[in-house]
Symmetry: C2
Subunit: 173 residues, 2 copies
DNA sequence: TTAAAGTTTCAAAAAAAAATGAAAGTTTGT
DNA sequence: ACAAACTTTCATTTTTTTTTGAAACTTTAA
């Protein structure tokens, strides 16, 4: 019984650390990913105090990263009856989580990059081979990124799409 | 004519900067992304000297990031006849580029994370609701990440797959 | 209206990541 | 075997990113 309790805490901690590391490798700050991990595996809504305590972080850090997670739409504030404090929960549906993360990254990073790509691929260039290659390559890149971005957009619709479902089963063999 | 030359250099620089910024938002170091961008739009193989010059970086930095790009399999060394120096080229086929990046990220980051996820979801937990929820949630996450990772793996096969091609056309509307 | 309970902000500090550059190491032609 | 031409390494420095914490702010209940 005691051993099991330790194992749980250990496992939970390992998960939070791993998720944090994975996050930072993908350009999401470690604490933000850790808070998200913690909320994902928490049965009940968690107060800011508890988050600070469990992750050993400052109030300011907790507050800023919780705000960021809420801006991403993957963490929610909850109010408990008769409680002054605020509690937090994570989006626990993984499909929904993926959709929201895709949407935000698209909006914040991919769309602006596309704009620049379009711009730089539009210089006039009936000149050197180097210029022709530049225009050709950036145009291809624009098309490619646009298509990849659209695929992400379409993830939303995907679940309603029997043909896609069938295909994935087929690809999984 | 003079104006056009300026525009080209300007555009090239803008592209390199943008690609660098995008890289760092996705956990790839800025210089590495910039070198890659530079090689992508260069018609001819580029020497290390030229890379250092164009990006205003040190020899050591150039050397280390070129090595990293070659480890990823997206930049190649080339030898020119009668030239002592080494030249570099980028993988310019974008499908190939995507496949290689997916493969590397899967190998370096997703596979290790999966291993930990499996581990932590395997604690025995006929105990509290909290433990049950933890096991349930991490198991779901494991399945989800595994499936997402497999989809990336299958991108390789995808191009040979008429049904998938059809589907994408269908999804694009 | 006040004070208690709580949250947010932001300038400054700390930590982490990336870049430098000089020394060590390679390779090639003679 | 030598030296010239070039590349790599890694301890140190620089830059960037993240974190802290104390002050300012907000909300609620009495």
């Amino acid at each position: 019984m005691y051993i099991c309790l330790m194992e749980f805490k250990e496992a939970k901690n390992k998960f939070v650390q791993t998720w944090g590391a994975l996050g930072s490798q993908w350009g999401i700050n470690k604490t933000m990913a850790q808070i998200h991990a913690l909320l994902m595996v928490s049965h009940e809504p968690v107060s800011m105090e508890d988050i600070m305590e469990e992750l050993q972080i400052s109030r300011g850090n907790a507050s800023m990263n919780l705000r960021a997670l809420m801006d991403w739409g993957i963490v929610y504030k909850e109010y408990k009856a008769g409680e002054r404090r605020e509690f937090f929960t994570a989006e626990k549906d993984l499909d929904e989580l993926a959709v929201k993360i895709s949407r935000e990254r698209s909006k914040r990073e991919i769309k602006p990059a596309l704009k620049i790509l379009k711009e730089v691929s539009s210089i006039q260039s009936d000149n050197t081979a180097a210029e022709k290659h530049f225009v050709n390559q950036t145009t291809k890149l624009y098309d490619f990124v646009l298509q990849a971005d659209n695929v992400l957009d379409k993830i939303t619709e995907y679940k309603d799409n029997w043909l896609a479902q069938l295909l994935v089963k087929f690809m999984k063999k």
